[in-house]
């Protein structure tokens, strides 16, 4: 059935993929791909009003809407028009058998914005909620292009996001956070993309203060995490302010396991594979906090002789680490996911993109023979730099060939450490000054600030 799906006017690129992931979560394998979309006539794709065809019955539509973060409401559309007169005619003509079950004298209802029909009104706890929505009042503040044609919708609410959980989980009231903690809304969106639910196991190899796992645990998933930094995962800021206390704060089950490990040198036993249902993470790309890997001084060939830790110092030695290039970090993540995800399991992670001519280039997203890309959701962070939330599904088994190819690639990264550090240095690409000299020759500034789109689109 086709529904009117009205979104919150934010994180525009994340909205449709969330609905599709939740269709898969509640509707079973294939339900996500079965979702169809249309725009109402005269509506820009960034408008909050979308028409969606969902598989299954209305219960599925309600489950999707109620679990989502970005769906303001999913409505059974009783009619639309360009004027109230036209709307009235269309709604009157809508089949009685679709309307009558919700208009019985015993049931209560509430109409938001305008009044319609007969019966008892209960504004606090109505049995049914009807919405009249207009698209005419777009000012210049919502960031969208001007509306070509006024539209009025009338529909019955089937389900809506419960955003009350956002104030509960907001970072500013969380006991233990770090500089790169994932904000609550994004963490919940990531958990939805990863299909987190009871009985499933979610792993975050860059767990930090655990903000992504908190969201996964809220949806009932079991969680595991690892981090290279022992202070973050074990010590926190004291006995009552650490990863474990973040789970206690929300009365969530604590992670099954938190370990200190380096994803570049993973500690999994030989033969272990296909244990996680989802891997959800925000890898350290080196823009706000750089990644580190094991090997340290040994990798700086020629400057320092290979270092050997004296035997008497082995217990207390703090290993030095080497910077971890973005390319190698992403390679290790895809290899981990290929090995450790179950078939059909999901890999959800942020990938940084340096914007060229104001757009992110999908050709630069990472690929892997075991994975199919399901969704890419861009969030623009600055003039030069976006992050894209990639959602991938494991479609190919982890074979000996995949393992061998990864081993060869890994050797290449080790042997050419410096080359990869230079080529993959995102921090300097994002923060180096724009090339003013070259621009002056052309007679225009390197970055034309006026060329920024007039509507906010992916900035929202």
């Amino acid at each position: 059935m086709w529904y009117l799906c009205v979104f919150y006017h934010r994180l525009l690129d994340y909205r449709r993929p969330e609905v599709q992931s939740l269709a898969e979560l509640f509707g079973g394998p294939g339900a996500g791909d079965a979702v169809e979309w249309r725009m109402p006539e005269n509506h820009h794709v960034d408008s909050p009003f979308h028409l969606v065809r969902l598989p299954g019955d209305e219960r599925l539509a309600a489950q999707i809407a109620n679990r989502s973060l970005l769906v303001k409401g999913i409505y059974e559309l009783w009619g639309q028009g360009t004027t109230y007169e036209e709307l009235e005619r269309v709604v009157m003509a809508y089949p009685e058998e679709r309307k009558l079950p919700y208009l019985t004298p015993e049931s209560t209802f509430k109409i938001v914005v305008d009044s319609f029909g007969k019966g008892r009104v209960n504004l606090k706890k109505p049995d049914h909620k009807f919405f009249v929505m207009e698209t005419d009042d777009y000012g210049c503040n919502n960031g969208l292009p001007p509306v070509a044609q006024r539209t009025v919708f009338f529909g019955r609410e089937v389900g809506a996001a419960d955003r009350h959980l956002l104030p509960t989980y907001q970072l500013k009231s969380r006991k233990y956070i770090g500089p790169t903690a994932m904000d609550a809304e994004m963490a919940f969106l990531m958990a939805n993309q990863g299909l987190a639910r009871p009985g499933k196991l979610v792993y975050d190899p860059f767990v930090g203060t655990g903000s992504i796992l908190v969201a996964a645990a809220h949806f009932g998933a079991m969680t595991m995490g690892a981090d290279i930094d022992i202070r973050v995962v074990r010590d926190g800021r004291g006995p009552d302010c650490n990863i474990w206390s973040n789970f206690e704060q929300y009365k969530l089950p604590e992670p099954l396991c938190i370990l200190r490990a380096d994803n570049n040198v993973p500690p999994w036993r030989p033969g272990l594979k296909e244990v996680f249902d989802a891997i959800i993470c925000d890898p350290p790309y080196g823009v706000r906090a750089g990644g580190r890997k094991s090997g340290g001084r040994k990798l700086i060939k020629g400057t320092v002789a290979p270092y050997t830790v004296p035997d008497e110092k082995r217990d207390s030695h703090i290993p030095s680490t080497a910077p971890y290039s973005l390319a190698e970090c992403v390679h290790d993540l895809l290899h981990l996911a290929a090995r450790m995800l179950v078939m059909g399991g999901r890999l959800v992670f942020f990938f940084p993109v340096v914007r060229e001519d104001g757009v992110a280039n999908p050709a630069k997203y990472p690929e892997h023979p075991c994975f199919r890309l399901l969704a890419s959701c861009e969030q623009i962070l600055s003039m030069r730099y976006s992050r894209v939330l990639l959602t991938m599904v494991k479609v190919g088994p982890y074979t000996g060939e995949v393992e061998k190819a990864a081993e060869e690639r890994r050797r290449e990264f080790r042997e050419n450490h410096h080359k990869w550090m230079e080529e993959g240095n995102l921090h300097s690409a994002v923060f180096s000054p724009a090339d003013q000299a070259a621009a002056a020759a052309d007679g225009k500034p390197a970055i034309d600030r006026d060329s920024k789109p007039k509507y906010r689109g992916k900035y929202v």
Partner: protein, 133 residues
């Protein structure tokens, strides 16, 4: 650290052949009750290295907790298994998820490299001269 984690880890330091199973040295351990999830346990059982799990319970001085052979799917699915404390499901749940190693170490069987467990967190990080080339 739960025994589920112990079952998944190996030493990856230079010189280790398989690095597995890691010998468990326990200084302090505790039990924390948790709600059993039969679906999760049934899914996890085929991934478990059973002899290593049995050996770990023996290292803790709990030789009676687990039988020699892993439980069957039928045993784990038996009606009332989650409520019956003596059931195969509850024993598996206890072994994998309710026992916590607070302090101790994991020792590589090939090289005797010792990975400390402190405040429940195993430290699997290698020194710079232990990383394989």
């Amino acid at each position: 650290m739960r025994l589920l984690t112990h079952n998944m880890l190996a030493s990856n330091a230079r010189g280790a052949v398989t690095g597995y199973p890691l010998k468990l040295q326990v200084v302090k351990w505790s039990t924390k009750e948790a709600e059993p999830n039969p679906e999760f346990l049934r899914g996890m059982l085929p991934k478990i290295d059973w002899p290593a799990l049995v050996a770990a319970t023996q290292a803790l001085g709990l030789p009676e907790l687990l039988p020699e052979a892993p439980p069957t799917d039928a045993e784990l699915s038996a009606e009332g298994a989650a409520a019956d404390e003596g059931s195969a499901l509850r024993r598996l749940h206890r072994a994998l998820l309710e026992i916590h190693i607070e302090e101790g170490a994991l020792v590589c069987p090939d090289t005797d490299r010792c990975f400390p467990i402190s405040r429940g967190v195993p430290n699997m990080l290698l020194h710079e001269d232990e990383v394989r080339n």
